[in-house]
Structures are given as C-alpha cells and as structure tokens.
Amino acid sequence: MLEFLQYEFMQRAFLAAVLVSVACGAVGTYVVIKRIVSLSGAISHAAFGGVGLGYFFSLNPVIAAIPFSILAALSIGFARDKMKISEDTAIGILWSVGMALGIIFINLKSGYAPDLFSYLFGSILTVSTTDLYIMLVLDVIIIFLVYLFRREFLAVSFDEEFSKVVGLNSTYINMLLLALIALSIVVLIKVVGVILLIALLAIPAAIAKQYTYDIRKLMILSTILGVILTSLGLILSFIFNLSSGATIVLVMAVAFLLSYYIQD
C-alpha cells in the first residue's frame, strides 16, 4: 500500500503538501476572517500573467510570478482605496486582465508551452527540488511577517476604522496583507494551479473556524487540516489516476461539507 512513498517524486509531493499547508494555514486564516476570498481569487488568477512573463523571458515561471502577483495584489488595493472603484469591479477586471496577459506573453513566445496546464490546474507530482526550495523560502518569509505584524493584521481585520483611530496606518497594513496573500499564492501555484488554488486558501481555514475562536489555534488547525487533506487528495489521485489539483480541491470540499454537518 505504501510503496508509492519509495518514489522520489512522491516524497517531493508530500513535502510540497506540507509547505503549501503552512501558507494556507497562516494566510488563509486572514483571507477567511477578513472575508477577502474572492479578492484573493482574483490575485491568484492574475498571477498567471507572471507565469506567462516567465515563459516569455525563459525564467522560472514560479519566480516570475512573485513580483507579478505582488504587483497585482497592490494594484487591487490601490484601485479600492485611492481610485474609488468598487472592490467587486476591481476584482473582475484584475481577474481576467492578469490571465489575458499571461496568454499573450505565451503567444508572443514562439513554440509550444508543454507544462502550461500544470500552472493552470496544478501538478503536485512534477514539483521539482527547486520548486520546493522556493516554497520553503516563501513560507519562512510569510511566517516571519505574520508573526511580526500579528497585532496589526488582527486589528485591521477586526475593525479597520478603530485601528485608524489608534494611529495604525491601515492602508499600508492592508497592502502588506495583500502582498502576503500574493506570496502564498505563489507557494500554491505548482501544487493546484492558479485556477484551483483559492480552495486551498479558503477551505482549511473555513473548516477550522467552526472549531476554534482563537486565531493562533485557527492557524495551526488549518495547517494540520491542510496537510491531511492535501495528502489524502494526493493519494487518491495517484490510486485512481486522476488530476491531483482537482482531486485535492474535491477532497477539501467534501471535508468542508462533513465538518459543517458534524458541527451542527
């Protein structure tokens, strides 16, 4: 039964599952409690522009997605705060413009983009050692920033107006949080792809939120849930020869439904 663990690509896949779960636990918690799931979904689709840019310049697409998705995240924050465009509209525009840019970049680069699908829908089995290192470094940055700014993130998530009254620059803190979301999206790209990854940011934290009101426990519990559910999805996709990203998302959705009824 456990013979698949002998394969190196499988070991890398399980390591990837742990690394994405850390990002999901820490940042997904804010995404859920601050109710910015669809905004984060827009950033994740926009990150595809960065993947295309990477192709165009023959760079590692995951690395190219880092500055691109941060830029996308900041521009949505800017559109909302300074240009007085409704957040809903900004989400819709960014969502499709980022993807369109990615497609154009790939068009412009002559030749076939063989693993394009893995960036759209993810492919945890093709995660390379380099990818793992990138994910590890991003995880460390994410955890460090979340720890450092935990009071500020909590304050702007809970009551933005009051946080301004006590002298907190909520614009900058919001931007920083969006940038962190962008980083965690990059961590997730290889595993589930830009189209599916929002489920990983939202579902573990949404399940955990039904069981605890303590934000630290919420982060830890969503990380643990992330590891279990991602691994389970990975194993099922291997056994039934299904697409790994889609299987992981469906496993999480089932877990969410179950937890909802158990909680009731």
């Binding site: 009071r151 909590l154 809970f158 009101y213």
Partner: protein, 248 residues
C-alpha cells in the same frame, strides 16, 4: 495657556457634492461633558470623524489639544456607532480591549497595557468575561466591551457615537454613573438623536443639523427641562432656531 480639548473653526464638509457640515465653529473644554444632538443625517457622526481625523474637512481648521488630530491619537478614545465587524470573528474580550492600547508598529503590549485594559473592563463591569469570545456576548455586553476598549487608552477626550443605542435598559443608569466618575478626568462628547435621555445627564449641548444651531450649557438651552426636550426637537423638525435660543 492650556489648549481646549477640541477646537473647530469654520469647518465645512461635503460628501458626493452634498453639504454635510456648514461653517461649524465649536470649542470643547477639557472637562466638558457634552452631547451633540440632532436628526439622523444631520452630520453628527461626520463631525466626530473629523475630530478623530478620519475625515478631512473641505474648509476650516481642527485642533485637538492644540495639535492636528493625527498627532493627538494617544489622547482620544472612541466608541463607534455600530458593529461593523463579524460577530463570529476569532477574538475574545481581552484581545478586543487590548486594541485600545495599541501604540505603534511592532510595539509589544506590556504588563502595564494589560493592567489598564483590565481596569477598563472593571469600569464597565465586564472583567468576569475577559476570556469570553465576542460571539457569546449580548449586544449590551459587547457595547460595554467597546466602551472599555475606548477607556483602555486612558483618553483625555472620549468620543462616543450613539452609546445608548445598543445598551440594555438596566445598563443606562450605570452608564451615566460611569460617565459621572470619568468626567473629571477627561472631556466626554457623546452623539445622540435622543434629546430627552441625554439632556438630564450632560452639562453642555450642541444642536447640529448641518449647521451648529446652539452650543452651551444645558440650562441655557431653554428655561425649563420641558423646553430642553422641546427646543432641539423643534430645531430638528423645522430647521429653524427656537425663539428661546440665540442664533449662533
């Protein structure tokens, strides 16, 4: 010479081309206990937000203890009008009140901050609930926690937007007792649309409906208590000053 708690000079503010406040000049002394009354949409909350520095007036000058509002943040405590947050939010009573002790980026909360937060909870009789999640509080209890969050800052100026709106009736008396204890330590300004309820307790009244129609001691607002009830209501319904009041 000591600066007044709040000094507004010729403040005007409009939003979406609609004039909300017109030429408001108002001074609040450091021991004033003042109610700002007026109809809904009369600009009361807007005025508070200008004092807080959350909104910038189109015209006029705002000074809080002689400084611009942004420099006076440590001296101001604020109770917002309504719950704009998710009641299911993962935070407990103590963590909520500690936000009132926030002093800047990366600055840890100290033992002193904790002590002040607990004192504030004690002031509103909510110390027994310090570990309770906010989703498990009643509306009135939550309101008391938010008052504690404002008090935890040890403000010199306490601004409260409709503090009685969500307070349980039996809390009303203890609320005014608390205010009576606090009013020697700080300037207190509360916004209300319910003239009758506040006028017995506060020392000064400001009647606001886009323009400031009157501000000063309650007893001058009208001769008898009955008049106090009636005057501002007339102001509100007709938008013209009552004959008892000097035009301002």
């Amino acid at each position: 010479m000591k600066s007044a708690a709040v000094e507004l000079r010729n403040v005007s503010f409009s939003y979406n081309h609609q004039l909300i406040l017109k030429d408001v000049t108002l001074t609040i002394q450091e021991n004033d206990f003042m109610a700002i009354i007026g109809p809904n949409g009369g600009g009361k909350s807007t005025l508070l937000k200008i004092i807080l520095g959350l909104l910038k007036p189109d015209e006029g000058d705002v000074r809080i203890f002689g400084c611009i509002p942004q420099k006076a943040r440590d001296k101001i405590g604020y109770l917002p009008q309504k719950f704009i947050f998710d009641p299911d939010f993962p935070i407990n009573v103590m963590e909520t009140v500690m936000m009132g002790r926030y002093h800047g980026l990366l600055k840890k909360y100290s033992k002193k901050d904790e002590k002040k937060a607990k004192q504030a909870l004690k002031d509103v009789n909510m110390l027994d609930y310090e570990d309770r999640q906010i989703s498990r509080l009643s509306g009135g209890q939550m309101q008391r926690v938010l008052i504690a969050r404002a008090l935890a800052r040890e403000p010199k100026l306490l601004l409260m937007d409709e503090p009685m709106a969500s307070i349980d009736p039996e809390m009303q008396n203890s609320f005014y007792q608390l205010m009576a204890r606090l009013k020697n330590k700080m300037a207190i300004v509360l916004v209300s649309h319910d003239v009758g309820a506040v006028s017995v307790h506060v020392d000064k009244i400001a009647c606001l409906n886009q323009k400031l129609f009157y501000h000063g001691p309650v007893e001058n607002a009208a001769e008898g208590l009955e008049e106090v009830y009636k005057c501002p209501i007339e102001l509100i319904s007709h938008g013209i000053p009552h004959r008892m009041l000097r035009e301002h």
